[in-house]
Symmetry: C3
Subunit: 117 residues, 3 copies
Amino acid sequence: MEGLSMKLVTAVIKPHQLDAVKEALHAMGVAGMTVSEVQGYGRQKGHTEVYRGAEYTVEFLPKIRVEVLIDEIDVEKVVDAVVSASRTGKIGDGKVWVSSVDEVIRVRTGERGLDAL
Amino acid sequence: MEGLSMKLVTAVIKPHQLDAVKEALHAMGVAGMTVSEVQGYGRQKGHTEVYRGAEYTVEFLPKIRVEVLIDEIDVEKVVDAVVSASRTGKIGDGKVWVSSVDEVIRVRTGERGLDAL
Amino acid sequence: MEGLSMKLVTAVIKPHQLDAVKEALHAMGVAGMTVSEVQGYGRQKGHTEVYRGAEYTVEFLPKIRVEVLIDEIDVEKVVDAVVSASRTGKIGDGKVWVSSVDEVIRVRTGERGLDAL
Ligand SMILES: Nc1ncnc2c1ncn2[C@@H]1O[C@H](COP(=O)(O)OP(=O)(O)OP(=O)(O)O)[C@@H](O)[C@H]1O
Ligand SMILES: Nc1ncnc2c1ncn2[C@@H]1O[C@H](COP(=O)(O)OP(=O)(O)OP(=O)(O)O)[C@@H](O)[C@H]1O
Ligand SMILES: Nc1ncnc2c1ncn2[C@@H]1O[C@H](COP(=O)(O)OP(=O)(O)OP(=O)(O)O)[C@@H](O)[C@H]1O
Ligand SMILES: [Mg+2]
Ligand SMILES: [Mg+2]
Ligand SMILES: [Mg+2]
């Protein structure tokens, strides 16, 4: 059954890194993505973090959530590409997580499973 | 154990189709939904797509994410209803995916599982 | 293998309860969270619900989605804390759900699994 299931890779990243992530995914042939604006904090809650050149002590900072549905067979290379492209080396670079999806449907065509990606 | 687990149906659709999706879900007795604004692209990244009468060559287009927690027993009919109501037949109609949830809790009452839906 | 897997706890709550949820999670040592603005309705769709002192008959009301990646070993206490902190006792208090994640990566360090939380 290998290669027959789909995964959802979710990343919460710095807004400035979105272009790099998009390019990295495009370069490896990932066909689509969904992004949304979120806010969050990680382990340095209450400490300062730099955003757009200013120091913030507020707890929530703007982040971007990226979601990519992929063939399970590509999960390691997609995760590595997203992590690489998101990394600046400074605190607050983000988290990436992988979850399983039972089914995917492409609305226009009704295709299901890997064909729907 | 059939009928004892819950699924999350997520759809990323065209904003204009939200009312149709909402009506379709309501008509079949689905008790609730959560929506949020997202942006995305699918297979035509870099090509034009029409949104509100104008052609866009920008890569990200506004979409709506719909999330519905349901009894697993209803998953096929809910997916079919969402796909049907989202479809315009033009590119960019969206993706629907299904994932498993371990537990659901209704905050006000503390009910869990299917009773919480 | 117990304690070696991660869970994602998602809550859709009243905006006014976010501070209470944040404090409850912080008090129990949860290291991070992601929040976003959503809209939704539950079982009283079409009935009135009070938001910021005014009655609404519109169907969608503003809610906040909270997402927390945690060690599976903490799932019960995190769920209980979120449910407790979200509860006002009035309709519309929200839903909390738990799902499984296969992998988590901390972008800056490349750590994986429980070390990435
Ligand atoms: N446990 C968590 N659950 C849900 N979201 C989280 C969690 N931890 C972090 N996030 C999200 O990821 C974003 C970035 O987190 P961040 O990179 O600061 O994590 P970190 O573990 O503190 O790593 P670093 O030490 O590199 O800052 C946060 O703003 C938040 O949106
Ligand atoms: N692989 C994917 N991962 C995550 N989200 C996706 C993916 N593909 C598409 N989406 C989301 O779904 C939205 C609609 O995608 P779209 O309908 O264009 O898919 P498609 O496969 O290109 O189908 P079509 O050929 O009908 O346009 C995108 O804007 C994006 O938000
Ligand atoms: N089945 C569902 N699927 C997805 N999201 C839901 C669902 N039900 C509720 N929600 C989300 O949770 C929010 C709060 O729901 P709500 O608390 O009204 O649930 P309820 O079951 O009607 O409980 P109550 O009777 O206490 O109002 C909604 O606005 C919506 O965003
Ligand atoms: Mg941090
Ligand atoms: Mg497309
Ligand atoms: Mg309700």
